[in-house]
Symmetry: C2
Subunit: 143 residues, 2 copies
């Protein structure tokens, strides 16, 4: 009876299974990713990872993110104007709302839109592999 495992443990397990070596720096980065509530970029992740373990270089952050991405444990986003941002992949799929004034990123999910997308792809003779839906918004002014 395995009790609920932490996100980091799950991720590490998945990675080992995929034959990925666990190093101190990779653990540090995983820890940071699994506790992040936001969508940090590589630089931000670097800073946070160093707080966990001083021995993490920026190059390693980039290399690790690439490894984690194609192991499927993180998702990479490329919002407008700026570098890539990352997010642990062990959460249900969602799309993003970006506040143009603050840059804040929020999440949402619409079943209907998901269905429509698949339908549209099919109409064109394609199967949908993945998609990107970002709503760039401004706070509504109260009347």
């Amino acid at each position: 009876m395995s009790p609920k495992k932490s996100r980091v443990e799950d991720m590490e397990a998945a990675l080992r299974r995929a034959g990925v070596r666990m190093t101190r720096q990779r653990s540090a980065i995983l820890t940071v990713l699994s506790t992040a509530e936001d969508h940090p970029d590589a630089n931000e992740l670097h800073g946070r990872a160093r707080a966990v373990d001083e021995a993490v270089s920026l190059a390693t952050v980039y290399r690790t993110l690439a490894v984690l991405e194609d192991a499927g444990v993180v998702h990479r986003h490329a919002f407008e104007g700026g570098g890539a941002r990352f997010e642990a992949a062990d959460v249900p799929h969602h799309d993003h709302i970006i506040d143009l004034e603050t840059g804040e990123v929020m999440e949402f999910r619409s079943e209907k839109i998901e269905e429509l997308q698949a339908a549209i792809a099919a109409e064109h003779g394609f199967e949908l592999v993945h998609h990107r839906l970002e709503l760039y918004c401004r706070k509504k002014r109260r009347s």
Copy 2:
């Protein structure tokens, strides 16, 4: 009685109205944009523009694209993995399907999705300024 004007003429007219000077290089770039059937990047545009007029530098292509973009006559896209791509703005709004195998970009429009997006933004207390919807697809294998 003005007969149907060409896209270039319309664009140049709109730009002059907006107080934008017309130079040889800008004309060349407009010509290229108005005849492009695809979504070229800055480099590609540079190549094509030089074919029209040798005297166009890459820096000018970038500067002109910026001018055209905020005059509203071109749209800038940033698909996955790669630089910005451009498209004349004198066509109705649409979203994109990207064939992951060939990189080909196709267009589609879904009224329903447009409505849903606005509704979602509103639900979160935002007004939608613009959005990005891209479907990354693979050709469907016939069964």
